[in-house]
């Protein structure tokens, strides 16, 4: 590798990091309004304090499936969307953000005979059919999720999204009313109390910080504050600036809006010092989207490596490695940011376990690449990192990924020991499987037989299987001890425990079979690929069973994804076991 090639390679890595940095920078103002500053306001929702921006992003993910959309030729981000939804619902209602895939549900909404496939609807489109949607959903809701038909699942899903939208729309002011300022003026008038009750009922979040001398968790919703004021209490000091924000946004007065926002920030930081700073840290994390950026960099790294096998290997292989390092840095920073923001160990739910599995696989892959320098570590790590972050992105569409931990899980010690070790075990097993896949594919694609590389790959896989056995065994036993501490039994044959046990048993079988000489290179590789199936089943499959103390809910689409994954791994095992004639030495030069 020449000097120039080396610098070009590392230059690519640095460039990737710079691009990642650009994402974290604040965006410009929207039509002169400081939407991003509005998104920075701290709120209490789901039991924790977060910026309004987080709520906007997660709600838009739930409702629309992504964090932004195009409307009238302009792309609209989460902060602008939530501003419209909170203050100008008449505008937000025309934005076609409800995606409906199910044709039966589509035909329920309009009978004009839409074309097949997915279609977008606005809240205004759904408006006339809301009662019907609610009626259908309420008949489907009592049925257990596993037993619902496709239509029932789809209608319940649509209803949940519409209801979230409806609640947001009526959190700061009742949609259709003249606004918050009018509400403050008409305190004590007829009907005001009824409206306050509606506001309290529908509030999705609490935006008013606790007053001095009150319980530090006693954030109030607009309805609660109005109701307190109408009973003779003092008006909450954050209500007037909030009303001015509302009025300025509706009248398109950007300067007035920004001034009111500064005033609101002032009130919030007097009442709840630190909340604003906490919210803005999370806002930067949201904007940076480290896992999305990370998976893009991994993809580039993988692409660079694939090309390197055909063209300019001396330049492209180090470039791929540099890109992988850049991706790993972004990924690590994202993981660290989550740990700091949440004050929890890295794995707290299925989403974060996917992020962590990817991270573990990448770090292991980097180490393997340092040891063998054949490009396989890079390829496998980039592919594993990319795949697991894709899985994480799909798991993250169900709402806040930093949700609070339910009582029995509220233990940083066990989350840090049991959950982390077992997740490292998953990562290792997947990485061994990925190496085995690389081995199998190489066997068929490579033009020359290269015994040394084959042996190196087998060594890597063996080492990683040992590593995974250690972590999955220790993790499983620690899980048993946690179970003994919280449920009173070390081992209960609960599905999640069984899943962990299967990984341990399978890795143990591989090692014993190798030790006894029953399998050699190719056999170990096939077994390692089967390890992918076992790990995927114990990771996701048990959640689909819907039994046991560990299950976190049925995942419908995930079931098909898992089936497809298992099928693909079986095919790869077949490829690995392909007829011997594919394995004999090919004549040089003919390929």
């Amino acid at each position: 590798m020449t000097f120039v090639q080396k610098y070009l390679a590392w230059g690519a890595g640095v460039l990737a990091l710079l691009i990642a940095l650009v994402f974290a920078l604040p965006g410009g103002k929207v039509r002169g309004f400081d939407a991003s500053g509005f998104g920075n306001l701290p709120i209490l929702e789901g039991g924790r304090i977060k910026p309004l921006d987080s709520l906007a992003r997660n709600s838009l993910l739930v409702i629309h499936g992504s964090q932004g959309f195009r409307h009238e030729g302009r792309s609209i981000g989460p902060d602008e969307w939530i501003l419209d939804l909170l203050f100008r619902p008449q505008v937000a209602d025309t934005q076609r953000i409800f995606i409906i895939n199910d044709t039966e549900v589509q035909s329920l909404i309009d009978d004009k005979g839409k074309k097949l496939g997915r279609d977008n609807y606005s809240f205004a489109d759904l408006g006339p059919r809301l009662e019907e949607i609610q009626k259908q959903a309420s008949t489907a809701q009592p049925i257990a999720p596993q037993k619902r038909t496709r239509f029932q699942s789809a209608i319940v899903n649509l209803f949940d999204r519409v209801y979230l939208y409806y609640k947001l729309r009526n959190t700061l002011q009742l949609a259709g009313s003249p606004g918050l300022g009018w509400e403050i003026q008409s305190l004590g008038t007829a009907d005001a109390n009824l409206r306050h009750q509606d506001l309290i009922q529908l509030a999705q979040f609490r935006i008013l910080p606790p007053l001095a001398g009150e319980n530090p968790d006693a954030w109030q919703s607009v309805g609660q504050a109005l109701s307190a004021a109408s009973k003779g209490g003092p008006l909450h000091p954050a209500l007037p600036p909030l009303a001015r924000l509302n009025a300025a946004y509706v009248t398109d007065d950007a300067a007035g809006f920004n001034a009111a926002l500064a005033e609101m920030d002032g009130v919030v930081s007097t009442l709840k010092p630190g909340a604003l700073a906490k919210a803005s840290r999370e806002l930067v994390f949201n904007r940076a989207q480290p896992f999305y950026v990370g998976l893009s960099i991994y993809f580039m790294a993988f692409l660079a490596l694939c090309i390197s096998w055909l063209w300019k290997p001396d330049l492209l292989r180090p470039t791929a490695y540099a890109l992988l390092c850049a991706g790993a840095i972004v990924h690590t920073l994202g993981l660290a940011a989550r740990i700091i923001l949440q004050g929890r160990p890295p794995v707290t739910n299925l989403y974060s376990s996917a992020v962590f599995v990817g991270w573990g696989a990448v770090i292991l892959g980097l180490i393997v690449e340092r040891m063998y320098r054949k490009g396989f570590g890079t390829a496998v790590a980039a592919a594993a990192g990319f795949a697991s972050l894709i899985v994480a992105q799909n798991l993250g569409t169900e709402g806040d990924t930093m949700e609070m931990m339910r009582a029995v899980l509220d233990s940083n010690f066990w989350l840090a020991t049991h959950v982390v070790t077992i997740t490292i075990g998953y990562a290792g097993t997947f990485l061994a499987g990925a190496i085995a896949i690389a081995y199998a594919l190489r066997k068929h694609l490579a033009t020359q037989v290269d015994v040394e590389t084959d042996r190196a790959l087998a060594d890597m896989a063996y080492g990683i299987i040992c590593f995974s056995l250690f972590f999955s065994f220790v993790g499983t036993v620690l899980g048993g001890i946690w179970a003994d501490q919280s449920w009173g039994r070390f081992w209960g044959w609960d599905p999640k425990e069984n899943g962990a046990l299967l990984i341990v048993l399978w890795n143990a079988i591989i090692l014993h079979a190798r030790m006894a000489g029953y399998v050699r290179e190719r056999g170990i590789m096939m077994m390692a690929i089967f390890g992918n199936i076992i790990t995927a089943c114990s990771w996701f499959g048990v959640n689909m069973l819907g039994v046991g103390l560990h299950s976190y809910g049925f995942m419908d689409q995930a079931f098909y994804a898992l089936t497809a994954f298992i099928a693909s791994q079986l095919v790869l095992m077949g490829i690995c076991y392909a007829p011997a004639r594919f394995w004999v030495e090919k004549p040089h030069g003919k390929a």
């Binding site: 209490l44 929702e45 789901g46 039991g47 924790r48 609490r206 968790d217 006693a218 954030w219 949700e403 609070m404 339910r406 009582a407 029995v408 509220d410 233990s411 066990w414 250690f470 065994f473 220790v474 036993v477 620690l478 048993g480 001890i481 946690w482 003994d484 501490q485 919280s486 449920w487 009173g488 039994r489 070390f490 081992w491 209960g492 044959w493 609960d494 599905p495 069984n498 899943g499 046990l501 299967l502 048993l505 399978w506 143990a508 079988i509 014993h512 079979a513 030790m515 006894a516 029953y518 048990v542 069973l545 819907g546 039994v547 046991g548």
Partner: protein, 386 residues
Amino acid sequence: MIKTIASRVWAFFRSFQLTIVLLALLMCLVVLCTLAQVEMGTQGAVNAYMRSFVVWHQFSGLPFPLPMFPGGALVGLLLTLNLIAKTLDIKLSWGKAGMWLVHFGLVVLFAGEFVAGMMQVDTNMSIEVGQTVNFVQSYKNTELALIDVTDPTWDEVYSVPDTLLARGGSIAVPGTPITLKVKRYFPNAELSNRAEGTPPSMATAGIGPSVSVVEQPLVSADNEMNQASAFVEPVAAGHSYGVWLVSVGLGAPQSFIHEGHNYVLSMRLRRQYLPYAFTLKQFRHDVYPGTDIPKNFSSLVQITNPSRHESREALIYMNQPLRYEGKTFYQASFGKNDTLSVLSVVENPGWLLPYVSCVLVAIGLLAHFAIVLRRSLKRRQDKKEG
């Protein structure tokens, strides 16, 4: 000849093939047991697959079940033998010390699960705030209690377990002049108000004559309960007090008087009385602000133990059980608008074994890695020098 058989047996038990076959069988069992839990409930599936020597399956059309698969207990036993044989077989050298410890640790782990499977008793204790309770009760097993409530300050309880009722016949209740004649026993039954015109009940006294009883198949799912019921006839000094219907599903107490003693008949979940009592002083159910996501459950209990002259408070909360007199009390559930706390109670004499095993295996693995690392460093050094 004997020697060859012995050496063959030895060779069989220490073979790698056996290890691999057994591990594979165990994997199959684990998968089957997990899938079966959807239908049978956790406990049912574990009993059928893991805690049995043979997995039986009842085909429709056949009068008897057929053995389908080796059960968890058999595989576990063979695996333990295999493990012991292999542990003995590992050369007693320092180089193998790590592996030796790991495998010995696994033997301890298996022993722990075996002890748990054989001897662990799961019960629970429900206490309302302010209430004092001196017994734990079973989740599924029942008993017929004959309670002498004559003395208003003291209940004398005589109980007959369901297993004895199931055998039928006459049961003389020790300590009392009463003999219970079991007319009929239902492991699970459905009770309903007896409609006009249906055949008369076997019962002649108490609430029984107005209730009709239909036998039901046994259930095993986690959230279902068998309603054990029976028709019993208390007889004392040659005098019958009529045939009574007793059932877990009946709430109202039924009683009769014999020679000035007032006896209550009650079918209930089997109780074990303790030499100490718990009083629930406070139950807390904390949620995250603005949500109903539970953050913590805790029960503050007063332990009163006259035999130890002990009276102290203990706080039982999530991940923080109370271990007392060989029993472990965990916060399990709650009810009645947060005024009722349910503690699950486990008695497992082998509860320490997994901890011991965990330490042994961890030390063993570390030792093995250290040995392997040293060996490979030495090899590298030799290579350099050579």
